[in-house]
Amino acid sequence: MRDVAIMGYAQSPQVREARGLNEVEMLMPVLQAALADAHMTLADIDFVCSGSCDYIAGGAFSFVGALDAVGATPCMQESHVEMDAAWALYESWLKIQSGHIRTALIYGFAKASNGSLPDILSQQLDPYYLAPLWPDSISLAALQANLLLQTGRYAQRDFAEVVVDSRRHALANPNAQLKGEVTVEALLAEPMLAPPLRKHDCCPISDGASAMVIAAGEVAQSLADRPVYIRGIDHRMEVHQLGQRDLTTSVSTRQAADRAGVGEDKIELAELYAPFSPQTLILQESLGLRPDVVVNPSGGPLAGHIFMCAGLDRFGEAARRIRAGTADRAVAHATSGPCLQHNMVAVLEGK
């Protein structure tokens, strides 16, 4: 395996609506910032890969227009995934492993404020049995939370504690959308949104963009003082039909974690893409994280959730803290599909 390192990362402020800015205008400063963070220019980049969703933009091939933010002259090697940019990162990582490239620029973006995200997500489901019923993503997460409570392993106050930690951590994140000191009691006094979930148990809608630069080890060593290496990365997918899965545990996360080498050494922090608070608990368990691991020091998706970037952002936020010396070894997680159907786990290390 070739060493691959995260060289640079940037994210736009996570806002409820980026009114008066289109996707390209959101992206341009973020791309420039990520390249600058990596001490590189576009000329140093061998491959560009993005993650975005046409159903969010409301236009087919909307990701092609986004290339205007990169500047596609001279012609470049470029690819796109209709998924979170964490999977654009994975494609880029694979391409480095194949020996075809040494550097990659990855970005994601979405203006989810333009449409109705929970309903749009219902249309990514099985077109025969699920999509015709239009089951919104919040209701599906609520079903999962209902099952989790039935196991007796957690109570609603455990969901609230996840939110308390998220909002408190977010105080230190200038890009976070929801931040502050809140108490479990105050949260539990809020009305239900989709029982047993309350509004704060659900990630907010955030417009924005994120970008990251990765490079093969030899490039990283020449450019960075403390490269952040992707020591292991893997992703696994479960069956689609909700009734055929155990929604109270994440078997795909456990498998991906094993293959990524999570258990091989001490983990100090974990950035988890859990768009709903009960899912944080499921993921912590399935990753085998010890209680002293700091979860979502950035605030995580409950504090700010740029759809199509939230997974990449977990890698970026973990990498930032490793580079700053806050931690040596971290877990980054990304998810896709209903109720944690598809999960990616990576171990990031600075040495």
Binding site: G20, G71, G115
Partner: protein, 175 residues
């Protein structure tokens, strides 16, 4: 056991999604100018080229653009096609001609209709001018121009035009 029925072979499953879009940093002044009958482009600081319509970035360099350039409503046909099939949801009755038009002063073409002449007379290099709808009907849209009509000027040689535009852009870049 098997089910003793013919399987459902196909079924219609239309979905309709509603979106709410807001105008962006570059497009907002462009649309307001259109409402006043003005065609606004942007000059790229990186290439010196004038982009129309202005989307806020230079597609070649990825640099933000903001320098406004007012453009004439005359231009040259770069390419065209005549559409013979009715397009679902369109008010246009075939046959009609769509052209890629480069406005005088711009380095990028955009699409609009050509009319006011026999369809078989439309040609690459043809000089055209906008036929505007009455000003009382103007909104925030390129539909304020109903279509482009031939000016009657001699046909332009496209390679010559492109070379001249590139030369001008280079000059602007080094200015």
């Amino acid at each position: 056991m098997d089910i003793d029925l013919e399987p459902v072979a196909v079924f219609e499953a239309p979905i309709y999604l509603r979106y709410h879009a807001t105008s962006a940093r570059a497009i907002t002044p462009f649309l307001h100018a259109l409402r006043r009958g003005i065609l606004l482009g942007h000059r790229s600081p990186a290439t010196g080229k004038v982009l129309f319509p202005p989307l806020g970035s230079c597609p070649e360099s990825g640099q933000p653009t903001s320098e406004e350039v007012v453009l004439a409503d005359t231009g040259t046909i770069i390419s065209f096609t005549t559409v013979h099939l009715a397009i679902p949801g369109s008010k246009l009755k075939p046959p009609f001609t769509v052209a890629n038009i480069m406005l005088d002063g711009a380095d990028q073409f955009f699409s609009h209709l050509v009319s006011g002449c026999a369809l078989e007379d439309v040609a690459i290099g043809m000089r055209v001018r906008a036929k505007w709808r009455p000003a009382s009907e103007w909104g925030y849209s390129l539909e304020n121009i109903e279509y482009f009509v031939p000016t009657g000027e001699p046909t332009v040689d496209i390679p010559t035009l492109k070379a001249e535009r590139l030369r001008l852009a280079q000059e602007r870049r080094h200015a």
